[in-house]
Symmetry: C2
Subunit: 388 residues, 2 copies
């Protein structure tokens, strides 16, 4: 996998070693001897195993990770134990059968028995979990009265928020796929092109360029804010539209980006609002430096929009990007976040301001989104586009 | 939305009434005065609101549903309360702001406060939840000592397993999209075509034909069992490959289907194994009648494969299909399921047998999958293909 054109030069074995060192170091600090992980991103981080098979399969797999970083993973696709399943994944020691093709909560007895048995065999005493179903957790804990369980999803996302340079290289590889697909889709727009057609071009190119998984396919044509979904609407002369798409690239790291396109020349009012959105976007990027609180970036963008008498972005203007498309740090109003994180070098973020403009009674939403690595001096863009 | 070519004649208002009658009837029987729902499929079922924005956004939204079926939904895309947000969704009375673009467990304080306040205002006493994060649940429950919470995901999936005829019509509409995309992708295969190219054709057509959301894009070219993922492998003369793709159609109902294709004429041993898989598949379909236990279907398929000295399907050979791609009933070995359900009219299922055959030292996996409605007399196929 190391010589794929999509992630040239990334030594996945070295990345695995670094991730494991960070994870097991954190486990030691937190006093945890085991983790039970069900999130495909956490499983990938800890074991390298790819558990993102279908969008809804968020709890079809479970990894049990020991204090030494060695792991076993319950998977839906085998009926026997598989020892040493991946020579490229040295810490993944065993695959074990799990129920197939249903949310874990549909088979709580199966899951509770399997997890309790595995944890008991390992003499687990202090176990962190990311997203284990509450009912299953209750049953596992009842089976293991001497074992303590505690939620650790927020800690794991915080741990993963600051990326290793190899991780940033993989996000950048995903960004190359995603940005190219986005540009091709925007360039394909013409009068009469439907939102579905734009998404078709984008998805096809994400696959052709080697994406692992397509995360979302949003297209807004004459919908208001919150109008994320294509419904067959055809493009009209002079109108703006936006696309917001994402994918995981090889290695499982994601990209999340958006572009506003125009069919022909937009009316002056729309063109002016678009330039003002770009100004707000640039001010947000300029504000995004190490040491700045995330809410400051958010307020900078929205203050600029308000100054131009445009609607502010009615949601968080940014988020982390990594093995999940949307992870920590959140970039939002301070009142909408548990913690207003300080931006640090190694954070990888998406910024995604939105505004809207009325034209002859129709509200057009304008949006842009790129991904950036935070460096010692500011932002380095990871999504390179051929258009503004 | 009712006159979309993808779901002709489906009266979504009538469907909403029927779903609400079923849901509130079940709540009354279960003694629940409220539900807290985070699964996009459960939210759609209860409110009509579309909460599937991105693959990982499984807990970005939360619906609170009262005993009368009226609901409010916390959403990531607004900074103010939105009363009566959808004239087409009469039971959805209000949208409320939630944290944006991160797993709920990253903002447990925000979520716990919002949910506890809403439940307290409604004087909720007995609350069912589908998949609320265990840590957030703990904090909400601590805030509301007089309120009892209980997990109800398995009950909700069981409730939804038997479909209304309008739901079956929507699954069939999704199947039209998915089967057509699959056929076009298989037909595009030629020597040198890469797995990524096949998936590109499939995804583009799913979008062009009006899919709401793409759930998975699996392609196996010369991988063993469990080799779900494209990696750029080119097709070779005489070789089989398989595609397994899914999508949600308009209305949010899913289709999940798979096809094995051949580049040119397969060698005799592979062709024979393929015919034997089709025989096993047909025997499974013939066994799938109301009153039969799901494990019997599974064992029928695998017994036929074993009789032909082929590897059995190493996972569940089927599952329900509805607002999730994979839901109840599970069709698997009795020992891999909490409950070995009896097949009933109105169930909608996928059957997906797999086998494998060695050819000159390479293991080729053969797979097929269609969706079926269970009628009084047996199965009615919902995925219509132009090829066998």
């Amino acid at each position: 996998m190391t010589d794929s054109p999509a992630h040239p030069g990334v030594d996945l074995r070295a990345l695995s070693d670094r991730r494991t060192a960070r994870l097991t170091g954190w486990m030691a600090d937190a006093g945890l001897d085991h983790l039970v992980l069900t999130g495909p991103d956490h499983i990938r981080y800890a074991t390298g195993h790819r558990a993102q098979l279908v969008s809804e399969g968020v709890d079809w797999y479970a990894a049990i990770v020991g204090a030494d970083g060695e792991a076993e993973v319950f998977v839906p696709f085998t009926d026997t134990d598989v020892p040493e399943p991946g020579p490229a994944l040295p810490r993944l020691r065993r695959l074990r059968p799990a129920p197939s093709w249903a949310p874990a909560a549909c088979q709580p007895g199966q899951w509770a028995r399997s997890l309790a048995t595995a944890l008991s065999t390992r003499h687990a005493r202090r176990v962190g979990y990311d997203a284990l179903d509450a009912g299953i957790l209750h049953d596992v804990a009842a089976d293991l009265p001497g074992t303590r369980f505690r939620p650790c999803a927020a800690d794991l996302f915080a741990l993963r928020a600051v990326k290793d340079p190899l991780e940033i290289a993989l996000v950048e590889a995903a960004c190359r796929i995603n940005a190219a697909a986005l540009d091709l889709a925007v360039d394909s727009a013409d009068i009469g092109t439907r939102d579905h057609d734009l998404l078709a071009v984008a998805a096809a190119h994400q696959h052709r360029l080697g994406a692992e998984f397509l995360t979302h396919s949003v297209c807004n044509v004459r919908k208001g804010s919150g109008g994320w979904f294509a419904d067959g609407a055809p493009l009209k002369e002079g109108e703006p539209f936006f696309l917001d798409i994402g994918c995981h690239g090889p290695g499982g790291y994601a990209s999340d980006a958006a572009r506003t396109g125009f069919v022909g020349e937009p009316p002056a009012g729309i063109a002016r609002a678009w330039q003002q959105l770009l100004t707000a976007y640039q001010e947000g990027q300029d504000a995004a430096r190490p040491g700045v609180r995330c809410s400051v970036i958010h307020e900078t963008i929205n203050a600029c929009l308000a100054r131009h008498k445009l609607p502010v972005t009615p949601y968080g203007t940014g988020h982390g990007v990594g093995l999940r498309c949307c992870e920590l740090p959140s970039i939002n109003a301070a009142g909408r976040m548990d913690s207003d994180a300080v931006l640090r070098p190694g954070h990888v973020i998406a910024l995604e301001p939105e505004t809207a403009v009325d034209h002859h009674g129709t509200l057009f939403v304008l949006k842009i989104e790129d991904n950036f690595a935070v460096t010692e001096t500011g932002l380095r863009r990871l999504t390179h586009h051929t258009r503004a």
